[in-house]
Amino acid sequence: MLNNITTAIEKLPALPAGRRAALDALRSHGLPTTSEEDWKYTDLSKLDTLAIEDVAPSIENHDFPAAYDCGLDALNTALAGGRQTRTIEGRVELDTGKHQRLRLQVNRDAQLILDDRTASRFATFFAAIDIAPNARLRLLRIQNAAADAQRLTRLKVALRRDARLEAITVDLGGAFLRHDLDITFDEPGAEAQLHGLYLARGATHVDNHTRIDHRAAHCLSRETYRGIAVDKARAVFNGKIVVHPGAQKTDSEQRVGNLILSKGAEVNAKPELEIYADDVKCAHGATFGQLDEDAVFYLRSRGLDADAARRLLISAFAHEILDRIDDEAIRDRVTREFEAQLK
């Protein structure tokens, strides 16, 4: 496994010691297998289908750490050429179609748009984001990659005192995708709202894993994800919420709704709760179903044909998430892309 990836990196013109060390760490740690709980439904051996020319590691080199906790971090570091640090202010757009490893600081209100713009076959985009006290980050991740694209993204967001995060993620394309969104509340008073939409079609495998760690008291988290699975696609959702000892007055709610519209499509969804504090309010819910046939009939009785009726209802289901996108231009674009995917 990983031969083509390591070969592609070794062929780079400049290979500093730090990058070599990342490769070594990758070889010794290896990548998670399906026997690990978090990777139960997503098999990383899929990465072996990449050819050497698909890997496209970054040519530049940045900062390299002394050690690695896990194989995935080593993988991303080796591919991205190390980590870059920057402060995010105002509105910033970044390309998730390229290998990148970032450490981002948000000190004042900011908007970060992660868009998949490079038609690469393979990209790993990992970012650790720190939101300063009282600052607010609006994060938008849009993915509508090519039908053969493989993507691994990992966003780790730490919220300081009274910080605010609003994150919206949309997955429309790609072949094999795994997105991790980890939120940590280290100081009290912070709030995170996570909204996600994933459309799995064709033979796509899309896996969204979120994790919210309430380590401090008086923090609030709200999570709403909606998924649609058609054709022979597979959608995986795992939303883990951990309320650590001492995180009293935590207020957490998580809902995931899934539409399974074809035979052969599969959805695996698991909302997880680990609670170690007692004075908390935690609720989660998950639903799986199909379109309401009565609603379909109603639309048809008003003149729409069956297909148009279904598409309308599926749209309505998705709009719960899409409508939260503030930026009008992006919202329109994403909506059009979503509708296009439905046809």
Binding site: N258, N268, P271, T287, F288
Partner: protein, 480 residues
């Protein structure tokens, strides 16, 4: 967190802690083919069953213990356990209560199980298991009239071999998991129930059993078959004496419901949970599975668990027959240093199958409780329906309650709903009740009962009362 709630739970009395000092014929610890042959010979089993056991043993030796549960315990030395123990003075076939050792009967009286046919267990047949040998079976004649077979499995193997052979291991195959394989090799007793076509079993069937000897694991095997149109309600309740070493309990329960048949299996479990430091409780690793083989068949699991040091059990339903129904209602209490990783699996295979899961977990002290559920809808399962409700009640800030509900859906006509909430017994709620004159103890009891209501009402009447008391004792005995 106030001193009030802490003192509320500081002590929990375990009333069933005592030992009957009978001479037991115990096999020295260790597990190999010879021990299995010994067990099989003692029970006068036919050749086919010995072969079956040996096959299971061979498989077990190649397997390893599951590691993924959210529980932590010291490694079990399977060679340090004795796999057979029988109280002396009892022939292998007691004919009536008069043949039973009076000391044994005394034990049962202490446990509050009235042995005499005319007394309190009115209408409930009791298949008593003391350690590894069934002691007496009451009400056999009444059941015989109805055509119901209810006897120890070792007897069923001899009297009804065709029936046993037809169904044994068909719901929980030997290789299913580590503990099932172990059980298949060394099971020493359990209940066998067969309800013939169209018969509604006239009374609730129940089994009490205890682990008595030091280091003897209990390996019950229960097989219940409800033929077409039949129905039965089965109660399982157990207590165990105080012990210092952990005792292993690895049972297997197989239920088979044919067309239009229904089986209700209720458990009120009160194994010794270990002391405040978590020393010496029972390890409860059980595989329970129901196969809804027939059309419109129904299997319900109802359980109230307040004991055990470690619990690992997932009563499951395989919804094979079209229109079949699976239900799981559970109240689990973990306290002190108890750990529980439990839940259920509902596998939807047939058309228009329905499953309902209601899991109520109460965590106190340093208890850690995980609900692990699986709802799997296969591509063949047209119109599958599931509703899951998973609630946790936390008492104190040192305990944990976790939920891991797996859902795997592969059919577009399925409709599933899952809801989970977490709450606590608040200081404010207790104060409110006290400000109206209600004692703290009664207030806690009230709130916990309200929390468990949905599950308790699924229990057969006699069990519901015992369950309420059990829960109340668990939380009440500690009010200073």
């Amino acid at each position: 967190m106030s001193a009030d709630i802490q003192t509320l739970l500081k002590q929990r009395s375990y009333t069933a802690g005592f030992v009957t000092d009978l001479e037991s014929e115990t096999v020295p610890p260790g597990l190999d083919e010879n021990v299995i042959r010994f067990i099989s010979a003692k029970k006068q089993e036919p050749e086919w069953l010995l072969d079956w056991r040996l096959k299971a043993f061979a498989r077990w030796q190649k397997m390893s213990e599951p590691k993924w549960a959210h529980v932590h315990y010291p490694k079990i030395d399977y060679q340090a356990i004795s796999y057979y123990s029988r109280p002396k003075g009892i022939g292998d076939r007691p004919k009536s209560l008069a043949d039973v050792d009076p000391k044994l009967l005394e034990t049962y009286t202490k446990l509050g199980i009235p042995v005499k046919e005319q007394e309190m267990l009115a209408g409930v047949a009791v298949d008593m298991v003391f350690d590894s040998v069934s002691v007496a079976t009451t009400f056999r004649e009444k059941l015989k009239e109805a055509g119901v077979i209810f006897c120890p499995i070792s007897e069923a193997v001899r009297e009804y071999p065709e029936l046993v052979r037809k169904y044994l291991g068909t719901v929980v195959p030997q290789g299913d998991n580590f503990y099932a394989a172990l059980n298949s090799a060394v099971f020493t007793d359990g209940s066998f129930v067969y309800i013939p076509k169209g018969v509604r079993c006239p009374m609730e069937l129940s089994t009490y059993f205890r682990i008595n000897e030091r280091n003897t694991g209990q390996f019950e095997r229960t097989l219940i078959i409800a033929d077409e149109g039949a129905s039965v309600s089965y109660l399982e309740g157990c207590t165990a004496p105080q012990r210092d070493e952990n005792q292993l309990h690895a049972a297997v329960v197989e239920l088979v419901a044919l067309d239009n048949a229904s089986i209700k299996y209720s458990t009120v479990q009160n194994w010794y949970p270990g002391d405040e430091e978590g020393r010496g409780g029972i390890y409860n690793f059980v595989t329970k599975r129901g196969d809804c083989r027939g059309k419109a068949s129904k299997i319900s699991w109802t359980q109230v668990e307040t004991g055990s040091a470690i619990t690992w059990k997932y009563p499951s339903c395989i919804l094979r027959g079209d229109d079949s129904i699976g239900e799981f209602y559970s109240v689990a209490l973990t306290h002190h240093k108890q750990q529980a990783d439990t839940g259920t699996k509902m596998i939807h295979i047939g058309k228009n199958t329905r499953s309902t899961i209601v899991s109520k977990g109460i965590s106190a002290g340093h208890g850690q409780q995980s609900y692990r559920g699986l709802v799997r809808v296969l591509p063949t399962a047209e119109g599958a329906r599931n509703h899951t409700q998973c609630d946790s009640l936390l008492i104190g800030d040192q305990c944990g309650a976790h939920t891991f509900p797996y859902t795997e859906v592969r059919n577009p006509s399925a409709k599933l709903e899952h809801e989970a909430t977490t709450s606590k017994i608040g200081e404010d709620q207790l104060f409110y009740a006290r400000s109206r004159g209600i004692s703290e103890e009664d207030a806690v009891s009230m709130i916990v009962s309200g929390f468990c209501k949905q599950v308790f009402k699924e229990l057969p009447m006699e069990f519901a009362v015992e369950a309420q008391k059990l829960l109340a004792v668990s939380l009440e005995g500690a009010v200073g």
